[in-house]
Symmetry: C2
Subunit: 426 residues, 2 copies
């Protein structure tokens, strides 16, 4: 029965190797479509693939000959085979920076790498997930790309829609800071201020999806979420390929909803299953800000469920108090022998500065969280400094300048050599 459904869907919906949507909780399968919750148990739907018929070495060659963006992995993503020919922002294939200076400071001897996603078109990893949602929206015949957001997602959706010729409509709280409004507004789509807070915005968006007024609208992280979320798998693929088709021993991933971490695990598992990397153990570590640490709190307490928190941290892009994928993150951290840890706002700022002065990478607060947690986990002996470790930086410091606003001049002098010498700068 399930097989029949899949076959008929594959005929009509061309999303490459994506075969069906499958419930993460009960396994119930439905045809590919713009749905996100299981009709049986309300569990989250995710993409089930048909990778049968792939020859490992042929696949590896095909990937290596592909474009320098996420579409090199098109055979592993829910996108049509000709996706690279369509207009989109072509994110991904960002630098995996060998961070030897940072390694020295942290005492890592096994090889430390920063996967720097600030190199994406709108300077955050959101370009990866939005690119997936966009292709699904194309296939489903949507004409408006939408989301609620207070930051990176707004820009990623606005930019991707502009390039792809979609209408975009982004919903934000009406009293957002002017700088963030500008970053979202510049792409020329609809930018709607909602009189209310971020929860009100989200509630309104859910209503809109269920209403005829929302017909033809693809909300990237709601009705397109199963497709959107898969974009994070590309981080796993790139890290492994950039390491020479090798799994890292340890990966430190930021947690907002937790989706990214679960998809990185999914991506690594696929690489093993497809024979593209050797099957050996890896540990995944989750990183949160202390001011929004529901998952690390649950991890440390040994709980399986995550108790919601009210966020209060400078790491706004991670400030989700009730992370949907929290329980799955706990599973993965425990299964792989990893951990979930958190750092204070002060430690976040210190870590941003540490990464900038050692490697010349100016990270968003989320990058301060992962680098700070890495430092903390090394000091506590949880992370093994003799192993190959990859730390994710998912965004750009230019978007969270306020976090390091205290940084400034190291000296002020008169424009004379005497003044220069007096300041001890020679």
């Amino acid at each position: 029965m399930a097989v029949q459904t899949v076959a008929s869907t594959t005929d009509s919906v061309n999303l490459g190797p994506a075969a069906a949507l499958s419930c993460r909780e009960c396994g119930h399968r439905v045809p590919l479509g713009p749905v996100f919750a299981c009709e049986e148990c309300f569990g989250p739907l995710e993409i089930a693939y048909d990778f049968s018929g792939y020859d490992t070495e042929e696949l590896r060659k095909r990937i290596e000959a592909g474009p320098a963006n996420i579409w090199r992995y098109a055979p592993l993503l829910p996108v049509p085979a000709d996706v690279a020919d369509k207009p989109n922002l072509n994110p991904g294939w960002t630098k995996l920076v060998k961070a030897d200076n940072l390694a020295r400071e942290l005492g890592v001897t096994g090889g430390l790498y920063v996967k720097d996603d600030s190199g994406n078109p709108t300077h955050s990893f959101k370009d990866r997930v939005v690119a997936q949602a966009l292709e699904a929206a194309r296939v489903f015949g949507f004409t408006t790309l939408s989301c609620s957001s207070t930051g990176n997602l707004a820009g990623a959706v606005g930019a991707a829609a502009a390039r792809a010729g979609f209408r975009s409509c982004v919903f934000i709280p009406h009293d957002l800071e002017q700088g963030k409004v500008v970053m979202a507004a510049v792409y020329g789509g609809e930018l709607i201020g909602i009189e209310g807070n971020y929860d009100d915005v989200n509630r309104f968006c859910s209503e809109l999806i269920g209403d005829p007024a929302g017909e033809g609208w693809g909300f990237v992280n709601v009705n397109l979420r199963p497709y959107y979320a898969e974009g994070s798998k590309t981080l796993a693929y790139e890290i492994a390929e950039q390491l020479g088709w090798r799994l890292p021993d340890q990966i430190v991933v930021p947690i907002a909803s937790g989706s990214q971490l679960t998809k990185i695990d999914k991506g690594l598992q696929e690489l093993i299953r497809l024979g593209l990397v050797e099957d050996r153990p890896y540990k995944i570590f989750g990183a949160q800000a202390e001011g929004c640490s529901p998952v690390s709190t649950a991890f440390k307490a040994g709980h399986d469920v995550v108790r919601p928190q009210k966020p209060d941290t400078i790491a706004k892009s991670l400030a989700i108090g009730n992370p949907a994928d929290g329980p799955y993150v706990l599973d993965i951290a425990r299964r792989t022998g990893g951990a979930v840890e958190d750092v204070t706002d002060e430690q976040i700022v210190d870590a941003i500065k540490l990464l900038a002065r050692t490697e010349g990478i100016f990270a968003e607060t989320a990058g301060g969280v992962t680098v700070g947690v890495t430092r903390k986990l090394i000091e506590s002996g949880v992370l093994d400094p003799t192993k190959t470790t990859v730390v994710l930086n998912t965004g750009d410091g230019l978007k969270t300048l306020d976090a390091v606003a205290g940084t400034g001049l190291t000296a002020t002098i008169r424009p004379t050599l005497d003044s220069f010498r007096e300041a001890g700068l020679a």
Copy 2:
């Protein structure tokens, strides 16, 4: 005599194919070293190469097999052959975006491309030139990397020095806006505020270079300028390679000092000479802001010399009133059949928004200048819309948010479907 000097220098200074410094005015050659002005005529020194012994097809293969950054062109740059193994920011190989939406708006039918240098590590083309200066600094034994700057260059120097393990010291006017100070300070080097304006800062830096206090200091765009400037050649190489080893018919380049435009021409000429591209005509167009348009003013008046101006424009990164390479720019524009044009601040802002809403690229004001000039030159019939055209975007809109600060919400509504419908958004 000159040959002997070169030979002995090549033995001691390993900068790959760089053979000597040669005066652009009188041709006098001196050994490679941290000097920038001709001892005979005070003309600018630039790198002379020895490309003899290169086989075209071998070179092409070597480049194509190289890393996805400027070091794929190491055989054509003043850097050691093993440069890619040294710690630096590895800039370049940024996207050449086929801008079909923008082409439609501008009526270009021959293929329109945006070379988007906002994808560089610190989000401007300055990473390219600083990377060259850094390698020269290494070879000359400098330990401090320095510059005067009010913007992109400060960040590029700070970041590159951090990663490469150099001390950095950046000089800025003491009253620079806080946001720009933070962007420069975050990399942890010395950031010195000079009591005075930008001219005072530059005067002081010149004094410092001539003083024992400045020993061991490499000022990227002063005593390392001949090396630094060559970084812009990589823009020409990348554009040609990304077009499939083909010259574009028309290129639109922003003009600050004019150096970038002259080096793009130099790069294209080298590709022709080396047989990497077919030798056919191309036109180079220079783009300025009306509020700082000394070169376009001279071009339109038919002058060979450039009369200095006092800059007053939002395009701060192009605001050099007395551009050192202005006369060379005039030569190139005239020789290739190009032109130099300028646009108002209002046209710059319009062009930033046009590029963002058509291609999802958020450009710095300098990108608004090139896109605006492209539009103007098409309208006036100077630029041929049936020819392949490449427009440079050399920086990131996140760094000049103020320019589009007027951009904002398209509507404000209550969080209800009724309010949504009333606003005409359904």
